[in-house]
């Protein structure tokens, strides 16, 4: 049983899946990356984007070694909710952000719902 301390990843990328304005804004902030194979670290989702394309981009970003954070607009995350909920790795970390036309809904936040469940489960356990 050898416990080794190590920095997990350094100089990692921030990937984004969002609407055009959100992606444009974060690219202006300097997170955009295009590698030699012209592979980008962002996906602009519009009305023509299929759920399959979003799923593929999510899988790709979460499997990439050089990505530490995946930002995803909440309304897009709810399109692939099953995949988001089944994802449980610490890295890359997923963060759901609001989008221009869809304000943030705290009821869909996984951490908040877990904490809520933690306190709501208390009376049930004390009764039994």
């Amino acid at each position: 049983m050898a416990a080794a301390q190590a920095t997990a990843r350094s100089s990692s990328l921030i990937a984004i899946i969002g609407d055009e304005d959100t992606v444009t804004g974060f690219l202006l902030a300097g997170v955009g990356n295009v590698d030699l194979r012209r592979k980008t670290n962002y996906l602009v989702v519009d009305t023509k984007t299929t759920i399959k394309a979003i799923e593929d981009a999510f899988k790709d970003f979460t499997n990439r070694e050089d990505v530490a954070i995946v930002l995803i607009s909440q309304y897009i995350a709810s399109m692939i909710r099953f995949q988001i909920d089944s994802y449980n790795k610490p890295l890359p970390a997923i963060l759901e952000i609001p989008s221009k036309d869809h304000p943030y809904d705290p009821s869909q936040d996984s951490i908040l719902s877990r904490v809520k469940h933690m306190f709501s489960a208390e009376p049930t356990s004390s009764r039994s």
Binding site: A4, L27, P90
Partner: protein
Amino acid sequence: MVEAGSMREGTGNLEQLDKEVLQCLDSVHLLLERREILHQTLRQGWMELTSARYTMGPARISSPLFSLKPHAPSAVVDVRGAHVDSTEKIGVPELEEEIAQVVITGPVAFHLVRNREEKEEKPSVTKLSDLTISEKKNPAKLRRRLTSTASEIEQDERKDRWEIKNLTDDSATESDDELTIAEGSKDTTQPLHWFGALVSPHLRSAQSNFSKALDIVVELLNAQSEAAHAHGNVMSLRRAATEN
């Protein structure tokens, strides 16, 4: 005696549980606070972006204009404080690597690193100063336009060569600067340049808003990571308490 020991252990567990619950609630509080600030900052950014689009035209700020030339990001993230537990040596290095990546205990801390922060504003200022320096050093070029005889041109060229030889030491650094500036002005890695040489000030404001948002995103993720870690600890302590 055994009962007293188990009582002490029980109270120790309860104290630990309280501590973890408080930690979790603190993180959630921070999370909610940062979420609100993030929303406000993003809203301001979208507003500025819309204003810029109104000023410059809808076709001037759109996703087809994003540069697809290979470039590195100016903002990256360092992941710190992750403890990797490699439980046992298997003998197959590939599998060991896999396990080491999956088993990460402790809250993960993110740290935003910006590579080139103040390069963007410099080119226009230095360019002007360089132009004035070059005008002072080469007044002959201006004169040459007026003169038309071949002998005068030859003389001027000789003079220029001599001056260049004398000034090589001084001008070496300046010419380097000029080169870098010329490269910088054509640099597609600066996202503002994707949308044109002269962009709306609203676009610059949007850029600064989204940069702030990026900072908040990192703080938010740290809070989220701490909350998730504390939640995990609370659940495991509870399970241990119910088993006892």
